[in-house]
């Protein structure tokens, strides 16, 4: 049963990822990316990390996709078709990517992984305790740093997106 679900998810993810990077309609490409992200959330559910799957669905499928759709609608006409790269460049890039993929796969398949057979489940309480513990191997410092990073990104995004208008107002009063 799990095999069938995993192969279906993998097929969906790969097909929609290819569609997302080759589609000539901007909005469709974003929606294909949404399907890929939902497939990745499915993998997290399958591997028994429910909290990560929920994070993936809320942050990526709920937040980032909406943000990208907003920017597409703000800067594009919906029916506009994207310009496509030259055929020679496409073929060259495909060959380079296939060579890279071959190197990756030979490295992975020649490495002997020490797989531990297990069926442990990780609860959200475990993740929360680990994230906020300041003992050995705790993650309290990166947690605080990431909150500062998010605040800085928020302030920066507002200033960059609004900068023009603010200076215009100052010029009028001066």
């Amino acid at each position: 049963m799990e095999r069938i679900i995993f192969y279906t998810l993998a097929l969906i993810m790969i097909v929609f990822a290819i569609a997302s990077v080759t589609s000539r309609k901007m909005l469709r490409s974003v929606i294909y990316l949404l399907f890929v992200l939902c497939g990745i959330a499915g993998i997290y559910f399958l591997i028994d990390y429910n909290f990560l799957a929920a994070i993936q669905l809320t942050v990526y499928a709920g937040g980032i996709i909406v943000l990208i759709i907003f920017s597409v609608l703000l800067v594009h006409h919906i029916e506009m078709e994207l310009e496509i790269a030259k055929t020679a460049k496409q073929i060259l890039t495909t060959v380079a990517c296939l060579i890279g993929l071959g190197v990756f796969l030979t490295t992975i398949y020649s490495h002997e992984f020490n797989v531990v057979e297990n069926s442990l489940t990780t609860t959200t309480a475990d993740i929360g305790t680990k994230l906020l513990s300041y003992g050995d191997g705790g993650f309290i410092l990166p947690f605080e740093v990431i909150s500062v990073l998010l605040l800085a990104a928020m302030v920066g995004a507002i200033i960059i997106a609004k900068g023009n208008k603010l200076t215009d107002k100052n010029d009028e009063t001066a």
């Binding site: 799990e2 095999r3 995993f6 993810m13 790969i14 990822a17 997302s20 990077v21 901007m26 490409s29 990316l33 890929v36 990745i40 997290y44 399958l46 591997i47 990390y49 909290f51 990560l52 942050v59 990526y60 980032i64 990208i68 907003f70 920017s71 703000l74 800067v75 594009h76 994207l82 310009e83 790269a85 495909t94 380079a96 990517c97 296939l98 890279g100 993929l101 990756f104 796969l105 992975i108 992984f113 020490n114 531990v116 057979e117 297990n118 069926s119 442990l120 993740i127 680990k130 994230l131 993650f139 990431i146 990073l149 998010l150 990104a153 995004a157 507002i158 960059i160 997106a161 023009n164």
Partner: protein
């Protein structure tokens, strides 16, 4: 771990996703499309962290923590990139890579 699925199969899928992202990053000529490709690359690496944590060190949580931080950084990066793209569109009325010759102002 997923019963009946070996770690090799999952790593194969994530490698394919990663290189699809690289392909899109190189061939696309639009800033928003490049952002989409970067999201694909980041997601492929996050799955690798989670899968290796679950299959090789199931009693630890380091991979899950790292993937949480990667997701947070990716969200911050996307918000900044979108605001930069909108700001650029105000200045030069275009989001094509070939038109973005200067980042002044």
């Amino acid at each position: 771990m997923i019963p009946g699925i070996s770690i090799y199969e999952i790593l194969t899928v994530t490698s394919i996703l990663f290189f699809i992202g690289v392909y899109g990053f190189i061939t696309r000529k639009n800033l928003i499309s490049i952002l989409i490709s970067v999201e694909l690359i980041l997601n492929a690496s996050v799955i690798n962290f989670v899968v290796i944590n679950k299959y090789l060190y199931p009693d630890m949580l380091q991979g899950v923590m790292f993937s949480l931080f990667i997701i947070a950084v990716a969200a911050a990066e996307t918000a900044l990139a979108v605001s930069i793209i909108i700001g650029l569109y105000r200045q030069i009325s275009s989001v094509e890579v070939k038109d973005v010759e200067t980042m002044k102002h």
